[in-house]
């Protein structure tokens, strides 16, 4: 068991190293001069030169990578050219918003995807099944940036049932900073009005972001359930007179679960991708929007930081899913 975990974590370290190399390489591709861009149209040559030296851009590429790596092991992601702050400080400000949104979308995904998938499977080839499959089809094919625009237009602007873009109403001050996830912090400090406001603000973006993964999870749950329902032992159990509910609860769903868990880990990545678009539309101050602005302004230290953190989180989550999975099911370790 320990060996398995160590092997997975070792692989993770290698991946992080590779990721750092790849992001660094990307930054070298940028054709324009980020320094001139950062200093604006009135910067004088001396200012530009000074800033360039300060960023170490006069060094050969290999040296720059060395400097970058040596800083990285010390937990220093460098400084953003645009915001002129440590990238890690920026990420500390923006990452919680993304995590909160992603988690909310994951909750939407699980609460909708799994039950609908089970119901569809149990009612195979009925109109219920057809409805669920159409939902999955649309959810998997709809451009989420359009979905977000429409949801805002309908539920915020027209009906005014739900609050608009942003994490909180402008007039609601954020809760005391503990984790940076507003709902969690409000819960921990017992700040109910903020909890209500933050939760309401999460609804539309979470649905927008979760739509695609809901579609995937629904399909996966449905097919996994169908496969199990077709197995001999289920028929045997039913024949033995066990109630349908018990059979489904105890045998079918439990055995259908592993592939569902795996897909949830994988879906996490698609949520992080989708967050880029969702955050743009919902004015959500997360790393997706930070990344977009950073790419737009060619602020590659910041882009590298976001990419690095995203590329650490995603495999880390998957590694944990795998490890958790191997605890449940020892056969996995053999592979």
């Amino acid at each position: 068991m320990t060996a398995f975990i160590l092997r997975r974590l070792g692989g993770l370290v290698f991946v992080i190293f590779g990721v750092s190399l790849l992001t660094f390489f990307l930054a070298q591709l940028v054709p324009a001069d980020p320094v001139a861009a950062a200093l604006g149209s009135n910067a004088r040559d001396a200012q530009i030169e000074a800033y360039r030296l300060q960023l170490g851009l006069d060094q050969p590429v290999a040296v720059q990578y060395g400097i970058y790596m040596s800083r990285l092991v010390r937990g220093d992601l460098g400084n953003s050219i645009r915001t002129r702050r440590a990238v890690i400080d920026d990420l500390r400000d923006y990452l919680p918003a993304t995590i909160e949104l992603t988690m909310a979308a994951m909750i939407v995904t699980i609460l909708l995807g799994i039950p609908l998938g089970i119901i569809a499977a149990l009612n195979r080839n009925t109109w219920i099944d057809a409805g669920a499959r159409i939902l999955a089809l649309i959810g998997g094919a709809m451009p989420i940036f359009y979905v977000g625009l429409v949801l805002l237009g309908v539920f915020y602007r027209q009906l005014q049932w739900l609050p608009g873009p942003g994490r909180l109403d402008s007039t609601v001050p954020p809760p005391a900073h503990i984790t940076g996830l507003y709902t969690v912090d409000a819960l921990l400090t017992g700040n109910w009005p903020v909890l209500a406001n933050a939760s309401a603000h999460l609804v539309l973006p979470a649905i927008t972001l979760g739509l695609f993964s809901t579609a995937v999870l629904l399909r996966m749950t449905r097919s996994s359930m169908l496969e199990m329902l077709g197995q001999d032992y289920v028929r045997t159990a039913k024949a033995k007179g066990l109630s349908e509910r018990l059979v489904i609860g105890r045998h079918v769903f439990k055995n259908a679960l592993p592939p569902i868990l795996t897909i949830i880990g994988i879906l996490f990545g698609s949520l992080l991708s989708g967050a880029v678009l969702t955050e743009t539309i919902f004015n959500w101050p997360g790393i997706g929007r930070y990344a977009t602005t950073s790419v737009t302004t060619l602020d590659y230290p910041a882009v590298m930081g976001v990419a690095l953190v995203a590329a650490v989180i995603y495999p880390l989550v998957n590694t944990l899913v795998d490890i958790g999975y191997s605890v449940i099911d020892p056969r996995v370790r053999a592979n």
């Binding site: 692989g11 449905r222 949520l271 967050a275 880029v276 678009l277 990344a291 977009t292 990419a307 650490v312």
Partner: protein
């Protein structure tokens, strides 16, 4: 096999949708009433009418014509990326699976690195670094998606290379190249086709997403994502600017997904969903 596919009603529907879009893409110049770039500024933002079936945009360009030309770009983009990424990914997968050993290990670790990134973030970083354009967006999406094929094909090849017919071929002295191209590659085609069909939908969405945030196709190209992006500020006042390109995307992507489902059911009954 075709007959079995024909039995999958939804897949046939998907195929019909794709064929429809493909025909539209090919014959766009004959079908469109207007040049997709022709402006008529005084007649901008006109609602759907007999003259302009789907209305006009800010510059008075005909949305119907732009949408048809958009099919060219989106389908072309999907095809281009799937071919590019498929070619690279398949080659890497075959080599890794067939040669095995440290090379396999090294190549797979490289795919791990690419898999570590949430795809759109990496694609955005690449497209931004290369400079925003449709071509660079296609390169970016290809770079992000090739490992999918590499892993898939490698898995297939590993299963196949120990099969009797490959062992037999090797035993009688058939060269590696021949084994690869005669025996292994053809047997990977079915899963490749299934994957490619799903990827078409994914790529269309990804390219449109990149275009939407400004890192893909650039105006005035009538790409669907660009059209939605250009129309986003008018969504409350002039809904037709965004609605029609969004629907076009929905149908095209759903079409490819349905065909993918059908192909998988037919070609790979083990994975039947």
């Amino acid at each position: 096999m075709l007959r079995r596919f024909a039995k999958e009603k939804t897949a046939v529907f998907g195929l019909a949708v794709i064929v429809f879009f493909a025909l539209v893409a090919v014959f766009a110049p004959l079908l469109t009433p207007y040049d997709p770039l022709a402006q008529d500024i005084p007649n901008g933002l006109a609602p759907p009418s007999a003259e302009h079936w789907l209305g006009t945009d800010k510059l008075g360009r005909d949305i119907f014509s732009r949408m048809l030309y958009g099919a060219r770009i989106s389908l072309g983009a999907g095809l281009g990326v799937v071919l590019m990424a498929g070619l690279v990914g398949t080659s890497v997968g075959i080599v890794a699976g067939y040669v095995g050993g440290w090379l396999d290990e090294a190549l797979m670790r490289i795919t791990d690195i690419f898999f570590a990134f949430p795809s759109l973030i990496l694609a955005m970083a690449i497209a931004g670094a290369l400079g925003p354009s449709l071509q660079n967006a296609l390169i970016a999406v290809s770079v992000v998606t090739w490992p999918v094929y590499a892993r898939l094909i490698r898995g297939q090849v590993i299963v196949l290379r120990d099969r009797e017919f490959v062992q037999a071929a090797r035993a009688v002295g058939v060269g590696h190249t021949q084994i690869l191209f005669r025996h292994l590659f053809p047997n990977t085609l079915s899963p490749l086709l299934v994957q490619a069909s799903f990827e078409m939908g994914t790529v269309i969405l990804a390219v449109a997403g990149l275009s939407f945030i400004g890192f893909g196709a650039q105006p005035p190209i009538p790409e669907w994502g660009v059209m939605i992006s250009e129309g986003r500020n008018y969504i409350t006042t002039h809904w037709w600017l965004t609605f029609f390109p969004a629907m076009a995307m929905l149908f095209a992507v759903a079409g490819f997904n349905l065909v993918g489902d059908g192909l998988r059911d037919v070609l790979d009954p083990r994975l039947r969903r």
